[in-house]
Point group: C2
Chain length 227, copies 2
């Protein structure tokens, strides 16, 4: 496939808007759709912001992605989900996902930083009312945390589905922001006797801990061991 053909099939980037163009460090911003999808798919906890009584609220929550839609879920009694259910306007939200890759140590305190990759999604969340979309969203949520798990667990029954509210947020006003590489010290600071560089931050998984009431005949599935 030629380079031109590859470009032709690349999805268009997210449009830059007043909300998604940073006021500074613009070179760190990206609107690349595949980059954004990748960053979203590598995490499973987001921080969801909404406004309650005029004040901001930020809560950690799980999320899933299906194409250009994100889903979060919760009890039908939870505050953001009740708020989003109050009529057609939906709930204005900001959904942010952050990967921390390293601590950046400069000779000067001022130039200390972190290497990170983040995605910020602005939009309006709406309650999912279609039963089929709701089921697919819940499968996506489970598979987002542990790929393959939705098919290897008991699906939600009618009562559980009724107790669960799902919010949909379309990926329309989206930006990524990334910092990579080492510190950027002032030239006159380079000879100072302070160590400078990056301390990588790593995340991983430990050994699966079986539930105390698990039948010992049930083996640890491959999707938990990377086998």
């Amino acid at each position: 496939m030629s380079h031109a053909a590859a470009e032709a099939t690349s999805p268009a980037p997210y449009p830059a808007t007043d909300r998604t163009v940073p006021t500074r460090a613009r070179e760190r911003a990206s609107y690349d759709r595949e980059l954004v999808h990748g960053l979203l798919d590598q995490a499973y906890v987001c921080h969801l912001g909404f406004v309650r009584d005029g004040a901001p609220v930020v809560l950690p929550t799980l999320y899933g992605r299906v194409g250009e839609r994100l889903y979060v879920h919760g009890s039908t009694g939870s505050r953001p989900l009740r708020a989003a259910g109050q009529g057609d306007p939906g709930l204005p939200v900001c959904l942010t996902v952050t990967h921390v890759d390293g601590l950046v140590l400069a000779r000067s305190a001022f130039h200390h930083s972190i290497n990170y990759r983040s995605v910020v999604v602005h939009g309006t969340a709406h309650q999912v009312t279609d039963p089929q979309e709701k089921r697919e969203a819940l499968d996506a949520l489970v598979d987002h945390v542990v790929p393959g798990r939705a098919a290897d667990s008991r699906p939600a029954d009618a009562k559980e589905l009724a107790a669960t509210a799902v919010l949909r947020l379309d990926l329309a006003e989206v930006s990524a922001k990334l910092r990579t590489g080492g510190p950027h010290d002032e030239p006159e600071d380079l000879a100072l006797p302070y160590w400078a560089g990056v301390l990588p931050v790593t995340t991983g998984y430990g050994t699966p801990i079986p539930s105390e009431d698990l039948d010992p005949a049930v083996a640890v599935p491959d999707y938990l061991t990377g086998a």
Copy 2:
């Protein structure tokens, strides 16, 4: 020391307010001051929420703690810091810190969860104008990410201090929320042939990567190697 004496010296918990009492899973909430401090000190990236043009904005940022005060910093040109500088009222914010400890796999999709420890701080952030408090806040920010680093780097000079805005958020309306332990499956699901338990999530540090322009004579400091 008697138990009564130990209780007398324990700090009072944060008061529970309408905003900090969850609508559900109240047993997971805590207002213990030392628990909150510990959770805040074990992390260095928070998600800061504020309202702009009526809509929520959630951005990842570094923070530091000095007693019952949190500090975040940024360019004097950044949006939240400019907003907080516009007069006495300050900027209503919600600052959230989340530790993810494990993925909780239940036999049923519905009872999947994660083990986490989070802190949510509601309040109004104010720009720090006192030069001495600003210096202490910036030291706290650096030492929060890498303990001991503030004293082992060049302090900010007057120009850098002028270019940096610092916001203070008092720890007054604060709650922690924790989930620990294994899955809670329905009794009728226990015999299903699905693995159940917890996959621990771990975070750590890699080998320090020196800056390309670092004098090889400068050794990696002990505070980066845990030595």
